[in-house]
Amino acid sequence: MEYLLIVATDPEAEPFVAEEDNVGDWVDDLEARGIRIRGQRLRPPADATLVRVRDGELLVTDGPFTESKEWMAGYDILEVESLDEAIEIASRHPMARFGRIELRPAWPMDVHEPGAERHARERAEEEAAIGR
């Protein structure tokens, strides 16, 4: 299964200790185990750009500036057997201590299926599951 591993800051985590940031070892270890991984650190929200189309008009602004103290600091994409393996990997990322990590499973879809059909089909499946 494919997971997006979102590395985030968290003001309630222990203070960052630069000497203990061993993310290089973490990546090496995954590579050595044959786990395909790619990811990046991300520039902070101050360097983000927001793109919107409203009433047909393109709006480009800097931001978003939110009050939130938790923001996405990086990401990795993992291909693993199961959630248990993803949890084990996430637990050894230094930012699990100094921040927090969110695991989001990929939700594959046929991008060429017409949107209205997909929407109707998935709704029907959801209703069938709840109904029985």
Binding site: M1, Y3, E81, S82, L83, D84, A86, I87, E88, P105, W107, A129, I130, R132
Partner: protein, 448 residues
């Protein structure tokens, strides 16, 4: 067919439901990967047994019969689904289940006659039902760990454990937890969806993760037990069954993981606590505290079983004295005392010292202080309780002022004791406890 034979058949189905539900469902989940399908087909297999065993006789191996019937039903449904929607994914599932089976290729899937042992049908050339998993791990253990996976919400773990592992109906679980049935049904559906969508695996965790994950399983089972054990009044009948269900499922985990001391210790703890269930309320439905309970109403069989488990653990070399083990030994000390006054509180206080060393929670500290107080050191116990009260950690917990009150009474200070018990009264969460505290306050008021 005689009436007796029919009764035997019905008894056999009831027994098989208790003993085989988890095995049938767990095997089917591994084979189909579809929890709902597995449960529906397991339920249908038991319904067929109800129809057929009373008149046709009980199969020699009821579990194998039920598994075979349930699997035939699953193959049939998967094939119908595949035919209806021609979905590639589900067709692949049928192949997975059949795995070279020749008979199942026909549209109508034959069911074994109850008199037969379905194992005999397994000898067809090329027949491989895959009923035994390739890794040799009992499917029920996979089910235990998946139902109690930490990525599921706690209430979902509890519901799934009782439904899929325990075989309770959604209605029974809803009643036990006092929620509407549609709410519980939705909780279970969502939990199953989450298992699939989040990628929660159907397997036993590896050695590195096992201790923590087993701890999570035992916590769910103890929570189910306590939901049943703490029930009172009108709820007691509906919820009391949960205590027995938790004991049954814990027994299963102990059988599947016989070397895990804490699992066996939890079983002992549950048995020893459950032995007092009928004595906790008198005939008028009033709560009776441990020291005032009628010990003839304690279940001697459960006490003997719980003590036997602890004796076996004590003989194991290098056994772990974990939190469940220590709590079980404390419960055993109470359960084996002939009278409340003869209770060995020195031993109990020593066990609480040990427990406080590995579990620094304020509730353990409270019980430890009380045990020392009852062991002839009421002032030391009270001082410790006062420190705990000053820390503020148990500000809303009624048992803290109640414990202070009991030790003050022992110190010959009934007025101060009554004041503390009134404070407990204001915080007590249930009517039964409030009535018990009121009676105690009246006793103390009469004493001075």
């Amino acid at each position: 067919m005689t009436a007796t034979a029919a009764d035997d058949g019905r008894d056999a189905v009831a027994r098989a439901h208790r003993d085989e539900w988890a095995r049938v469902t767990a095997t089917l989940i591994r084979q189909t990967g579809d929890w709902t399908l597995a449960e529906e087909c397991a339920a249908e297999a038991f319904a067929r047994a109800v129809e057929r065993w009373p008149s046709e006789g009980v199969p020699r191996n009821p579990g194998a019969w039920l598994t075979t019937v349930a699997k035939h039903l699953a193959i049939d449904r998967l094939r119908r689904r595949a035919n209806e929607s021609a979905k590639v994914r589900e067709a692949a599932q049928v192949d997975e289940v059949e795995r070279g089976r020749s008979v199942g290729r026909r549209a109508g899937v034959p069911l074994p006659a109850p008199g037969d042992d379905p194992a005999e049908h397994e000898s067809e050339p090329g027949g491989d039902w895959g009923d035994e998993p390739a890794d040799g791990v009992d499917d029920r253990l996979r089910l235990v760990f998946t139902c109690c996976h930490p990525a599921l919400a706690l209430d979902a773990r509890v519901a799934l454990t009782l439904r899929t592992l325990g075989g309770l109906t959604t209605g029974e679980i809803a009643q036990a937890f006092l929620v509407p049935e549609p709410t519980m049904a939705q909780r279970i559906v969502r939990a199953k969806q989450r298992i699939r969508n989040a990628g929660i695996p159907y397997r036993v965790p590896d050695a590195a993760a096992l201790p923590e994950r087993l701890g999570g399983v035992l916590a769910v089972l103890y929570l189910v037990f306590n939901a049943g054990y703490s029930a009172s009044g009108g709820d007691a009948e509906r919820r009391g069954a949960l205590a027995g269900e938790a004991i049954r499922l814990t027994r299963l985990v102990v059988r599947l993981m016989p070397d895990e001391d804490e699992a066996a210790s939890l079983l002992a703890l549950m048995l020893l606590q459950d032995s007092r269930r009928r004595a906790r309320f008198d005939d008028a439905g009033e709560l009776v505290l441990l020291d005032a309970q009628d010990r003839t109403r304690w279940d001697a069989g459960e006490i003997a079983s719980g003590v036997a488990v602890l004796r076996a653990l004590a003989r194991r070399p290098g056994g772990i004295r974990g939190p469940y083990r220590l709590q079980a030994e404390i419960a055993a000390s109470h359960a084996t005392a002939p009278t409340a006054d003869a209770t060995d509180f020195d031993r109990i206080a020593g066990l609480y010292d040990e427990l406080a060393g590995i579990d620094p929670s304020p509730v353990v500290a409270l019980n430890r202080a009380l045990a020392h107080g009852f062991a002839g050191r009421p002032q030391a116990g009270l001082d410790e309780l006062d420190r705990l009260a000053a820390s503020g950690a148990l500000d809303r917990y009624h048992l803290l002022p109640a414990a202070q009150g009991e030790l003050l009474a022992r110190l010959g200070r009934p007025e101060a004791a009554a004041e503390r018990l009134r404070a407990a009264l204001a915080l007590a969460p249930s009517e039964a406890e409030r009535r018990q505290l009121r009676r105690r306050v009246d006793e103390l008021d009469a004493a001075h």
